[in-house]
């Protein structure tokens, strides 16, 4: 595949993430913050998000597995995850967190377990897609090319 094709693939792939609602305009904001002086900004922030989220999801699993679930512990974790996913534009993760919080409010343990599964699902999805995106970018950069900007008319 030549460089131009790779760039087109990347653009199409990125667009699909937006069309599927996996990413929202906040991700575009992050891309705007990336330039020659900070060429890895987006991947750095996203990596932080992955590290943060892995930890939070782990803590959530532990908290929800307790005999008596302490929602005062569960809710702040979900709030945090909602915040960081929102900050990077991981829309579906954020939305799943919003639902999760409403069940925390109701102290509905069973529903919270389901929500956790949903959040995890969305998280692994966006993680997988973003890792693929970064790989595509790396291939382009390695071929000496530039990452094309995605114009989505937001």
């Amino acid at each position: 595949m030549d460089l131009v094709q790779k760039q087109k693939s990347l653009q199409d792939y990125t667009k699909s993430l937006f069309l599927e609602g996996i990413l929202d305009s906040q991700f575009l904001q992050l891309q705007q913050l990336q330039d020659e002086s900070n060429p890895d900004f987006v991947s750095q922030v996203v990596t932080l998000f992955f590290q943060d989220s892995d930890r939070i999801l782990n803590d959530l699993s532990l908290s929800l597995d307790q005999q008596v679930v302490d929602f005062k512990k569960v809710d702040p974790h979900v709030h945090q995850l909602k915040g960081s996913s929102s900050s990077i534009g991981a829309q579906r993760v954020k939305n799943a967190c919003v639902v999760f919080r409403s069940f925390c409010e109701q102290q509905n343990v069973e529903a919270c377990h389901r929500c956790l599964q949903q959040v995890k699902q969305e998280y692994y999805l966006v993680k997988n897609r973003l890792e693929t995106l970064f790989k595509l970018e790396q291939q382009i950069v390695a071929s000496g090319g530039m990452i094309p900007a995605v114009e989505l008319g937001f």
């Binding site: 906040q26 705007q32 330039d35 922030v45 932080l48 709030h79 960081s84 929102s86 900050s87």
Partner: protein, 206 residues
């Protein structure tokens, strides 16, 4: 143009750049706000908690940290919901300090809770930004702060809406402590469906 004005108004700063102290317990958000501010030509110091912020500002009574105080802070941007000292409590401490009360404080929150916003503005917050913060928010903020560094009259004009609020509500800061019971986990706040600019700016209301 703005930089000239700024360098004349910030007489204690040798550099025309704003030095911003950003306070947020989230790694991700700290990284993003730092970049947003740097790309807007600000010097940035990030800390992870209100307590650390107070230490940095020299308010914790520990004179050992005096070295850090040499870098004058022109603006404080803080998250609202943080463990330990909340952004609101940090705001109060800053405004209660004669040394620091002139520093503009901006609150950020992912939750669009009107009473919370009003509470912060009454306590003297310069602005209230809804997260996720965008480049346009930071640019606007910077303009606001740079303009605020000019003549006192300009500043008074800018602050008068808040003064009206204070008179209306006739409350002392202590009465706002009741709002700490309002759960920051208010799920009725659907910040997600705010389509346009998520700015909450009381001055722009008629």
């Amino acid at each position: 143009m703005a930089l000239r004005d700024l360098s004349s108004s910030l007489s204690s700063s040798s550099s025309p750049e704003l030095h911003v102290l950003a306070v947020d317990d989230s790694f991700v958000d700290r990284k993003v706000i730092e970049r947003l501010l740097k790309i807007s030509a600000c010097k940035v110091t990030t800390v992870e908690s209100g307590t650390r912020a107070l230490q940095y500002l020299g308010l914790d009574g520990d004179n050992g940290s005096s070295g850090l105080k040499d870098l004058k802070v022109n603006l404080i941007v803080t998250d609202y919901s943080m463990p330990g000292l909340t952004g609101y409590e940090l705001l109060k401490k800053i405004k209660e300090s004669s040394a620091l009360r002139e520093i503009p404080v901006v609150i950020m929150s992912s939750e669009n809770i009107q009473p919370r916003i009003e509470q912060c503005m009454i306590e003297g917050a310069e602005e209230f930004l809804l997260k996720p913060v965008k480049l346009a928010d930071v640019k606007r903020l910077k303009e606001l702060i740079m303009r605020g560094g000019e003549a006192e009259e300009g500043k008074t004009k800018k602050l008068s809406p808040k003064r009206i609020l204070q008179n209306d509500i006739d409350s002392s800061p202590s009465s706002s402590s009741t709002s700490s019971s309002s759960s920051s986990h208010d799920v009725s706040s659907l910040d997600d469906d705010t389509p346009s600019s998520k700015r909450i700016k009381l001055e722009s209301r008629g």
